[in-house]
Symmetry: C2
Subunit: 375 residues, 2 copies
């Protein structure tokens, strides 16, 4: 797996019972995954020779993030390396412009969008073109963004200057008036087997995922099935292999629009570690290794995942003890990262029959670990 | 953790979400756990200097097996190393003679037993002494046995010669007329918090654990509570820290007698990985690190664990694919070991509401992987 973050850490964890021999390409020897994996290569994923020598002896190469240059993936594939997901699929998770163009071509409902060249084109997009609904609009660099980085909500042409400074193409999108955010997570293997997890509700705070509720409360069976079918269709049409997260906006008139795609294990699927018969990490591995997929069904009526962000106090140990003692059913997943304010350093999951209680337990633990709840 | 077997492998797996920095002392670099752990020291656990240098920088030292010499553990403890379980407890899992003497002192029901010096004393034990019920009797070397090794069922004085050849003291025990074997698994932390898992039924084949059913079918609440209380009492009285497995015989008249003790994660607790809110491995770590313990309650009506033994055919890959495809809910746990006939190379678990189905699924998968079931 290329990338030493928490997704690789948890993928290795899921691979141990499967008997997977896991090799990691990590930026540094102390990265989250590098702390727990036997076979670590430290190197730069932007360097083709590093990727080449890393891939030697691997049955398949997969990814913790989308940042490996597409042309390197094509070069590896041309040399016979099994790259999963492959560059023909992964480019749509790497480039938001390509993703929007392809999904629109497939008839997948998306927010109104177009690539813009400068602030004047942003104003035209916001106020003049067909369907324009005025400022604010959303601007995104087509590459390199994550967790709210590379995304701006701009209120006028002056504010639209900032996103162009990186020199990366910019995508303008209407700001969708949504009821809530959902995620439809599916896994697809090379021979086309696919499974769909229950559609979840994802609650964002300041552009960062805060809480995920599985299944999405009050979601109609019809809309749930539609969202799952949409995600399965995208996986099939784009030729995705592995886990695909389709982030969705649910609109007041009962539609779903695609927000983002991720072709790897995803924060909206962390609940599956404790809440589903097979975790997203195990199924991602099973898919990229072309093993039969595992049961995606939930194990509890409700499962809630809450991210643990770093707070002002770097030592979480006391809080960790308190949370474990307060709630013996709490599942804590730490990433081995140094605590910095606002940094994702772990997550917790809770499950049970009473949604209010399950949410309260997760929110309490995440808040207590961060230091925003003190009793 | 000292010892590179599958118990260490699965303990590391359970430690990843807890954020545990795991160091392993392994006999070789390709041992089961050494394949998946970052920080591996290869060395001989019988050598005190090796243990000393391994322990340097560890907050606590714990064990995958009972074979570290007690005097080395005492030396480490005297030098300030936190050894958990400590030698004062662990000696009762290392020496069956000491265990029997101590349990008898505590009033814990055990099979009739005594240390024997030669075959003539075995005959006296079997036929002359008070309570003697004739041959066959069970002979055990007091140290070094596991999985049926170091245990003999002898039918006469001539057969009793063999166990004495190792030069290790020999314990004679009556052969208990039991209905079935049970295991009461508990976990205890240094400050005395303890949890009890449901009592399970353990089915042995040729002296090796074959299947574990959780909870033990048809076990009365009263006997279940008695077995749990017995195990909790032993953990407290012996000062056990970590996981304690108490293997029991259930007798026709509704009693339980202690067969063996193990002070580490144990085969009879593997079902907890998929069947309990907190696995034995996670709770063992929480205990030895003096963290609050996790909920031991079952997550399903029935969970069955079946060991996967190696068969005649060294490549399990095809069977592995078949089992995953046949049963998407099957949980496979492989140990990364080369397949040899009769060697434990993994286990499977299944869970659900219908015991017959759950058993059939586990037995089928274990048999198919071994090659004894071919369709």
């Amino acid at each position: 797996m290329v990338g030493g973050g928490q997704l690789a850490r948890m993928t290795h964890e899921a691979g141990i019972p499967l008997g997977v021999r896991f090799r990691l390409l990590s930026d540094g020897p102390r990265d989250s995954a590098a702390q727990v994996v036997r076979d670590v290569v430290v190197g730069d994923y932007r360097d083709l020779d590093t990727l080449r020598s890393f891939a030697r002896g691997c049955d398949v190469v997969t990814f913790d993030h989308e940042h490996v240059p597409t042309e390197h993936l094509r070069a590896l594939e041309a040399e016979g390396v099994a790259v999963r997901p492959g560059p023909d699929a992964l480019r749509y998770a790497q480039d938001k412009g390509a993703m929007r163009a392809r999904l629109t071509e497939l008839g997948v409902p998306c927010p109104r969008h177009r690539i813009v060249a400068d602030p004047a084109e942003v104003t035209a997009f916001a106020t003049v073109e067909e369907g324009a609904s005025g400022f604010p609009v959303v601007l995104k660099t087509v590459r390199g963004g994550y967790d709210g980085k590379g995304v701006w909500l701009v209120r006028d042409e002056a504010e639209a200057a900032e996103p162009f400074r990186a020199g990366v193409p910019v995508l303008a999108e209407e700001r969708v008036d949504f009821v809530r955010e959902l995620a439809a997570n599916v896994v697809r293997s090379p021979h086309g087997q696919a499974v769909a997890y229950p559609v979840v509700e994802s609650v964002q705070v300041n552009g960062v995922c805060d809480t995920v509720i599985a299944p999405a409360p009050g979601l109609s069976e019809e809309l749930s099935a539609r969202a799952q079918a949409l995600a399965l269709g995208i996986a099939r049409e784009l030729g995705v292999v592995g886990h695909l997260a389709v982030e969705l906006f649910e609109t007041p008139d009962g539609r779903v629009l695609v927000n983002e795609l991720a072709m790897r294990p995803h924060n909206s699927g962390h609940w599956t570690q404790d809440g589903a018969a097979t975790s997203q990490f195990a199924n991602h591995l099973r898919a990229v290794l072309d093993l039969p997929l595992g049961d995606p069904r939930p194990r509890a009526r409700w499962t809630v995942m809450a991210n643990v962000l770093g707070g002002d106090y770097p030592d979480m140990y006391g809080a960790y003890l308190h949370c474990m003692a307060r709630d013996p059913g709490l599942k804590i997943h730490m990433y081995g990262k140094d605590v910095k304010p606002g940094r994702k350093v772990g997550h917790v999951t809770t499950y049970g029959d009473d949604l209010d209680q399950v949410r309260e337990r997760a929110a309490h633990a995440a808040g207590y670990l961060r230091g925003t709840i003190t009793e």
